[in-house]
Amino acid sequence: MKGALCIAQIAATDPTPVDAILSQLGPGPFELVCLFVSPDADFTTLTQAASGRFGDADVMACTTAGELGRDGYEDGQIIAVAFPSSLFAVRSYVVDGLDSFDEQQLIDRLIQSRLELSRRAPDMPAEFAFLMVDGLSLREEHLTTVLASGLGPMPLFGGSSGDGTDFHATYLSHNGRVRQNAALIAMVRSRCPVRVFSLDHLVPTETRMVVTSADPDARIVHEINAEPAAAEYARLLGKDPNQLDPFTFAAHPVVVRLGDTHHVRAIQRVNEDGHLVFFSAINEGMVLTLAKHNDIAEHLREGLAGLAQSGRPRQILGCDCILRRIEAGQSQKTREISAILRDNNLVGFSTYGEQIGALHVNQTLTGVAIYPPEDEAL
């Protein structure tokens, strides 16, 4: 089936990756090319080589914690997603220095860019914003809040760049310039109807805990229930505090309840002090609820089927939390989930966190479904 987006996928070790990508993508022209690059590849060389090779298209790239490719969950790949000019109009934008940027200036420029874009493409009624943000910046909440002000009604989704499961360093690149502590935003208008979505398969339990001591800026929880955090988390799970690892965190997430919704606060790791390091913002006095999960594969199938209720999307661009991939592996559902992803033409990458609207969340599959243009025969 012909897609709205043009997709290319090559091995991270390909000696001439850009040529390979070019030949797979076809002639274009494109508005934007996104590269999701395995940490195994030479990110700098690749992105510099790619710059300017796709005509006038901007090239946005980030490192991943795994790729979502033609076979679902994959590793060691470079995924290229190109937006053809015939169906899309894109303005891309760089935010450097996530801990120091001028918020108001960013908001103003986003508003102007968005209006300029809507004037440029009046025949493209659908719109969304796609964010790539440094997954180790600890500034996603702040960024999304500011972006939400600037984007207005334009729905935002995105993913935090990854570094495999090393949590050492992640990279971003815009038109060949490699960046850290930065974010890339693509504002997209399209002739294709789109739908931004976020799926999580967790259900809160009755087991709750109170953060009694924390370092919110570092996303580190020192104490829970006035006990060392890791030990208390382990006690509540009934596990040995020394046995805590990413698999435990993936299997036993905690959520924070706000109103009638809940949001996952994913645990990244246990540090040497026995504190818990989180993927997203925490605070003292917050109440965490232990969550259990439903069948991840079943939930994914149902969720994606929901997107196809009024017509199947041609493609889905997705950001999938690294913890979901870990959970899938733990529960031997990797192949099943990969098949579901493949069947739904879902491409993207595994993240250190996902953004939906003004929120930075964890342990979700967040993305955009792209449907056939309404004036195109199905």
């Binding site: 229930n225 006035a226 913002a281 003292e284 006095g285 929120l359």
Partner: protein, 736 residues
């Protein structure tokens, strides 16, 4: 799993709970205050996301609208600016000075030509300048040529007053004989447009034209004067010559050198030699006086004769400037022609007079001839009837004396023969009258009962004598006809019917037939074959040859036919041999139901007069008049015995041995007795009798005389009305 590890000591549990509580309380108290904190941002975003999104959407729309409005505003501004520029360009192309003041009388804009001639004001002409300010500056400009004696303030005041008028247009004089036409036009929103047009050229042209016109007029007057066939001289209020033409010098023989501007009227009048005679209207002194008179002059007209051969008509008329004009026309030819015409007229009049006299003679001869014919007819019939009447009177007086029946029968036949002769003569008279052009009908509304009633009696006897039944159906209709002739028509038809019917009956009826009344006379006689129906109306036609010659000579239907034709009454006939006949006369019904009483005395012949059977003695020595009177009186059904003079009258009375019912006596009877004397003799013999004296003598003496013996006096020429009046009176007094 519980919040607290149950394996802890109670102290430890308590300690932990206190710490948990403190963390929660801090969170509650400060959580949102730490606004910069990442978690707080997350929390806020999660809670407010939807609302923020909606709000943002609204702001977005507002922004769009604002953008749109801004764009429109910019467009509108552009358009306004463009319009303003266009207007400025447009008024700049106007060749006049143009200024627009708004409703508050403040200057909005003006073009460069506006007030260009007032160079010292142009720097003040800025948008916002008040109209008063503009006028004030113009009034003080040294380029404005103020009318004499007008101050700038007064000029400005007058200009402002003008501005209040709805339409303004006037000329302004500038220095150096330049002129501006200034006009104001009101705009729809109460503003004012002031236009200044340089009209210097027009005004100068006009001035030249006026001068040129004056010259032209003078030339035209000159040419007109020279062209006139009259001599004309024009004098001013001082009676000095100011204009003339050559003709007046010629006509009045005034030398050309005398005719010059300023020559006095009197000197010119004196110049006229003695060979000028003032013949009609006014004399020389009067003419001089008229010319010298002060104040308005009445026009004068008179004639002079020059050298006994030329006649001039002079006409003078004052002019409004108290000068005057004299015109002089040679009317010699006209006067001569008029004189000849007058002579000719006299000759013609004389001829007309002669001719008129000739015609009058011819007319009187014709009248005499006509009168003598009328007299002959009347006299012939009267002369024939007179002896017949006498004979009948003799016979009737004789019948009383006869005892022998066979003699009586002979006498009756003689009487019958006489009656037939009398009727024949009457009929001939009637026919001759009906064929005469001089016949005049007396047509008027007549009640049919008036006609049919009397006939019932007359004809009833006739019918009874023949053993026939006669029925006359009453009618109330009134018709338009001459009653005497209608009566004769019906009478003849009835007589005819009775005559030719041997048994059965005769019926007379009237049918209304639209606008006419049809009088029908039915009989049960022998009838008339269709072939004969055309001939029965000819004179002396009788179909039934067996009828006695005494029954008439067949003139009855001839009279009927002619009378109906002349009256315009259609005559109809239905007949079937062996069954009978019906004659029908159609008479128009009178339109209005007019009274049966005739409107005029002329037609008044009271019913009784014809039936009274009166005998009147007429004594008149003029034979013509005697005939006339007796015919007239007889026509009313009155018997007349007449005599030429008193002696003959007495003789006649003695012969007839009758006493007349009345007497008509001429007073002057030639030799012998007068009428009054005769009256006294007759009354002496026969007792008192009604009598009227006829006389041309209008002297009071005769009137006194008649009055003295109780006689009526009828003046000659005889008035028939008075005669009828007299006879009526007699008939009424003596019905026997």
């Amino acid at each position: 799993m519980s919040l607290i590890n149950p394996s802890d000591s109670l102290e430890r549990q308590n300690e932990k709970l206190i710490k948990i509580t403190e963390a929660l309380m801090r969170r509650v108290e400060y959580g949102t205050a730490q606004s910069g904190a990442a978690y707080a941002q997350f929390e806020r975003a999660a809670l407010l996301e939807r609302r923020v999104r909606e709000r943002t959407l609204e702001l977005e729309r507002t922004l769009d609208l604002l953008h749109e409005s801004n764009a429109q505003l910019a467009l509108a501004n552009q358009e306004t600016e463009a319009a303003r520029r266009n207007l400025a360009d447009a008024i700049e192309t106007v060749s006049e000075g143009f200024a627009l003041f708004d409703g508050d009388d403040d200057l909005v804009m003006c073009n460069s030509r506006f007030c260009r001639d007032f160079r010292d004001t142009t720097r003040d002409l800025r948008p916002g300048l008040a109209f008063e300010g503009y006028v004030e500056r113009i009034s003080r400009s040294r380029y404005l040529a103020l009318p004499e004696g007008v101050t700038p303030e007064a000029w400005a005041e007058q200009r402002i007053r003008r501005h209040k008028d709805r339409r303004v247009m006037f000329n302004v004089q500038l220095a150096h004989d330049r002129w501006l036409q200034v006009s104001e036009h009101r705009t729809a929103n109460g503003g004012t447009v002031v236009l200044q047009t340089d009209v210097t050229d027009i005004i100068r042209l006009e001035r030249q034209e006026r001068t040129r016109l004056k010259d032209k007029q003078a030339r035209m007057i000159r040419a007109t004067l020279d062209h006139l066939n009259q001599g004309v001289a024009i004098f001013d209020e001082n009676a000095r010559l100011v204009g003339w033409n050559a003709k007046i010098g010629t006509l009045l023989s005034i030398p050309a050198r005398r005719l010059h501007i300023g020559a006095s009227f009197q000197s010119l009048l004196d110049q006229l030699g003695d060979d000028f005679d003032f013949t009609r209207g006014i004399d020389r002194a009067g003419f001089g006086h008229w010319a010298r008179s002060e104040g308005p002059r009445d026009p004068i007209s008179f004639e002079v004769r020059h050298g006994g051969i030329q006649t001039l008509q002079i006409f003078g008329r004052g002019m409004p400037d108290r000068g005057f004009v004299i015109s002089c026309t040679d009317v010699t030819a006209e006067r001569e022609a008029a004189a000849k015409l007058y002579e000719m007229n006299e000759i013609l009049e004389q001829r007309v007079m002669e001719r008129t006299l000739e015609l009058e003679d011819a007319l009187s001869a014709a009248e005499r001839a006509n009168a003598s014919k009328s007299r002959f007819v009347a006299a012939a019939s009267h002369d024939l009837l007179q002896p017949l009447s006498a004979a009948k009177l003799f016979i009737s007086s004789l019948s009383d004396r006869l005892v022998d029946d066979s003699d009586a029968a002979v006498l009756a036949k003689a009487e019958s023969a006489l009656t037939s002769a009398e009727q024949l003569i009457d009929a001939l008279l009637d026919i001759s009258k009906l064929e005469s052009d001089a016949l005049r009908f007396d047509v008027r509304p007549v009640a049919l009962a008036e006609i049919l009633g009397p006939l019932r009696d007359e004809m009833g006897m006739l019918a009874a004598a023949k053993g026939l039944s006669l029925r006359i159906v009453e009618s109330t209709l009134t018709v338009e006809t001459d009653p005497a002739y209608l009566r004769r028509i019906v009478q003849n038809l009835m007589a005819n019917a009775i005559r030719y019917t041997t048994r059965g009956r005769v019926v007379v009826g009237v049918r209304r037939n639209g606008g006419s009344a049809r009088i029908e006379v039915w009989d049960t006689g022998p009838g008339i074959a269709e072939a004969d129906q055309g001939t029965i109306f000819e004179e002396f036609k009788r179909l039934d040859t067996r009828a006695s010659s005494n029954d008439g000579l067949g003139l009855g239907l001839a009279i009927v036919e002619r009378a109906c034709a002349r009256l315009g009454h259609p005559l109809g006939l239905w007949s079937e041999p062996g069954r009978g006949s019906c004659f029908m006369v159609n008479v128009p019904v009178a339109h209005a139901e007019t009274p049966a009483t005739p409107p005029r005395a002329r037609s008044a012949r009271p019913k009784g007069l014809a039936q009274a059977g009166m005998i009147v003695l007429l004594v008149e020595n003029d034979a013509q008049l005697r005939r006339a009177i007796s015919i007239l009186v007889e026509s009313w059904g009155v018997n007349v015995i007449e005599a030429e003079d008193a002696e003959t009258a007495l003789q006649l009375l003695a012969d007839l041995e009758i006493a007349p019912d009345a007497m008509l006596l001429d007073h002057q009877l030639g030799r012998g007795m007068t009428g009054v004397e005769l009256y006294e003799v007759i009354t002496g013999m026969l007792g008192p009798l009604p009598c009227a004296v006829i006389s041309a003598d209008r002297s009071p003496h005769l009137r006194q005389l008649c009055k003295g013996v109780g006689l009526d006096l009828l003046q000659k020429p005889l008035d028939r009305h008075k005669l009828i009046q007299f006879l009526d009176m007699v008939a009424a007094a003596d019905p026997g």
